[in-house]
């Protein structure tokens, strides 16, 4: 089936070459980082995780788009998602590749990475994150590939995939929960020490993931003769809207707890994030995110606007940027600022960090492109 990815238009090949070039440039930057150490990044003693781990945090959510479609389709037999489901599963694979890549480039000694397997440590959340991320990667790869192959051969998928599909639904929840626990379980990091960290991860994942999927579907409809169907688009937009409402609600819960209790440790990170203390570029981004979050809700909640295909992509794009700033950059930098000494240390990603991140994204998108090419070819053959 993979051979279908070898036949494509010049535009398809051009896109792949572009991604390879980005991977090459970022790969060179990673070589420099390996040679000179993480001093080439903006990270420091007090802000010890930054842009790389922010990508892990955000892309874990994007991988979740799959479960929002798999669940209605397989549990509730919601047939409208039939064509979109394979896109969701393959998007999850690319997203997980970006997650794992982001962790690898963040390591100081990546060549020792397998120590995590050689000395398995169940009390470390990072060990479990490795388990769930890799598990989710393989689950989606197997499920997506096998169902697509059966479709190509005009057969029903084999019975043994069903339990894997059900498992993947539970597993999707686990990747967010475990990644949220990376942060939520640490004493002395006030912004992260909150019981709704995992629920917040789920809420932001369930809006951002399907939003990106829907945007990709719009692009695919523009570029190819593939159609996901109007009903599917409507349903996904609804899911995105509800999840975003919950996401914003959870964020406001954090604001209330911090500012009504007036406990300094709870207030300081949020004061920093919104520029009331040591304000810097992060505050500007957070205000942009706030504006875009409410804009996206204003455009998504009224059904008239949500169902207008001229407006919907903009609403989704606003939502994606807002959640990216909040969950990626805000959560990471705010978690380390103020630092454990209640002091302030500046962090901003550097050019090597951005180039390496671009390469990690390019490799995930490369995988998605090839998988989508296969999926679309099979769908075309069989329809």
């Amino acid at each position: 089936m993979l051979e279908t990815a070898l036949k494509g238009s010049p535009r398809y090949w051009g896109w792949l070459v572009l991604l390879l070039i980005i991977m090459g440039i970022g790969g060179a930057a990673w070589y420099v980082q390996l040679d000179q150490g993480l001093q080439v990044t903006g990270l420091n003693r007090d802000v010890s995780w930054g842009f790389y781990i922010a990508q892990l945090t955000y892309m874990v959510g994007v991988a979740a788009a799959a479960v929002m479609l798999v669940l209605p389709y397989y549990f509730h037999h919601y047939k409208a998602f039939k064509k979109m489901i394979i896109l969701a599963e393959f998007q999850a694979i690319g997203a997980i590749i970006i997650c794992i890549g982001s962790i690898v480039v963040d390591l100081g000694q990546p060549q020792r990475m397998l120590n995590v397997l050689l000395y398995p440590t169940p009390n470390s959340v990072l060990f479990w994150d490795m388990v769930v991320l890799n598990g989710y990667l393989f689950l989606n790869l197997i499920i997506g590939w096998v169902t697509l192959q059966s479709q190509r051969n005009n057969m029903l998928p084999p019975k043994w995939v069903k339990p894997l599909i059900y498992l993947s639904i539970v597993w999707a929840v686990s990747i967010h929960t475990v990644t949220a626990f990376l942060y939520a379980g640490l004493p002395g990091r006030h912004l992260w020490l909150t019981a709704i960290m995992a629920p917040r991860f789920l809420a932001s994942a369930f809006c951002a993931g399907p939003a990106i999927l829907l945007l990709v579907a719009f692009i695919l409809e523009k570029l190819t003769d593939f159609r996901v169907g109007e009903e599917a688009k409507k349903a996904v937009a609804k899911i995105v809207t509800y999840a975003m409402c919950i996401n914003v609600f959870f964020f406001l819960c954090e604001i209330f707890t911090g500012f009504y209790s007036q406990i300094p440790g709870h207030m300081h990170p949020m004061m920093f994030l919104f520029g009331f203390e040591h304000g810097n570029y992060v505050a500007v981004l957070m205000w942009i995110a706030t504006f875009l979050a409410f804009l996206s809700l204003a455009l998504l909640i009224p059904p008239k606007l949500r169902e207008n295909h001229k407006i919907l992509p903009w609403a989704l794009a606003a939502l994606v940027v807002a959640t990216y700033i909040d969950k990626g950059i805000g959560l990471l930098v705010g978690g380390f600022t103020p630092n454990v000494f209640e002091g302030f240390t500046f962090y901003a990603p550097t050019m090597p960090e951005i180039l390496i991140t671009a390469a990690v994204y390019a490799s995930g998108i490369f995988a998605i492109t090839i998988l989508y090419k296969v999926a679309l070819t099979v769908q075309k053959e069989t329809s």
Partner: protein, 257 residues
């Protein structure tokens, strides 16, 4: 045919032998690190090492300097500009060392002077809990939180988990930044985390930690489990505080204010 079968048999057996060596080595490396070694007769032993810092005796920068130098020169701690610096033992303002204990009406001489910081060697260390490779571990014998520099993958999870900022990461190769190399103690390489080790290498030789030796009595070191130890005597007599006790990490470093 017969010779070929024989050859395969011998080849198989010798391959098994080849495979057994690394397997047994791997198994040996899985045993907790300290079980590989036997302590010397002169070693100082204790089951819960702790330190009391008498801050009344440490006020000016010149009081701290010899202690910090003693530690950093013994352990090949590089001299790197902040915020990428490596610190095993250092000083900071009171509101940074004891956040939440700030008191603007406190006596000037207490509120506005530097305080000494180092790894707390917590009884319940969060850095050990989060480490995905057991590169950071608490020694069962004496409770000291130490690191295996060869196992650390540099994920810096421990730095996020430590509420005391006791851990430093080698953002670069430290060797050009070491003033005078001590050949008795290893250097580190870029990409690994490090911190104070309560001078495990000196305790093994029967010596007190370097900072304690250089402190002229301002630092008291001993075994908390021994009721007659020097630290227990001081703790019985003086009022002491610990950094962020509300987090439940049970620091083993105490401060007389």
């Amino acid at each position: 045919m017969e010779t070929r079968r024989k050859f395969l048999k011998y080849a198989g057996v010798s391959l098994l032998g080849l495979a057994a060596a690394p397997v047994s080595r791997a198994a040996a490396s899985y045993i907790p690190h300290e079980s590989h070694t036997k302590s010397r007769a002169e070693a100082l032993t204790g089951s819960r090492w702790a330190m009391v810092i008498d801050t009344r005796k440490l006020t000016r920068e010149s009081d701290f300097k010899p202690l910090i130098e003693a530690c950093h020169s013994v352990h090949n701690v590089p001299d790197i500009e902040p915020p990428l610096d490596i610190k095993w033992i250092w000083t900071d303002k009171k509101e940074h060392v004891f956040p939440g204990k700030h008191n603007e009406f406190q006596a000037e001489k207490i509120e506005h002077k530097p305080y000494l910081l180092l790894c707390n060697h917590c009884h319940n260390p969060p850095c050990v809990r989060v480490c995905p490779t057991q590169a950071t571990f608490k020694r069962e014998s004496d409770g000291i939180v130490v690191m295996d520099m060869h196992r650390c993958i540099g994920c810096r999870y421990c730095m996020a988990a430590c509420p005391y900022g006791a851990r430093s990461f080698n953002f670069m190769d430290p060797s050009p930044h070491i003033k005078e190399l001590n050949r008795e103690y290893p250097e580190r390489m870029r990409g690994v985390v490090e911190k104070c080790n309560f001078c495990v290498e000196r305790l093994a030789e029967g010596k007190m930690p370097a900072c304690v030796e250089a402190s002229d009595g301002a630092l008291i070191f001993g075994d908390l489990d021994d009721p007659y130890s020097e630290v227990r005597k001081v703790l019985r007599k003086e009022y002491t505080i610990r950094r962020k006790p509300g987090l439940g990490t049970e620091p083993n470093v105490y401060y007389i204010i």
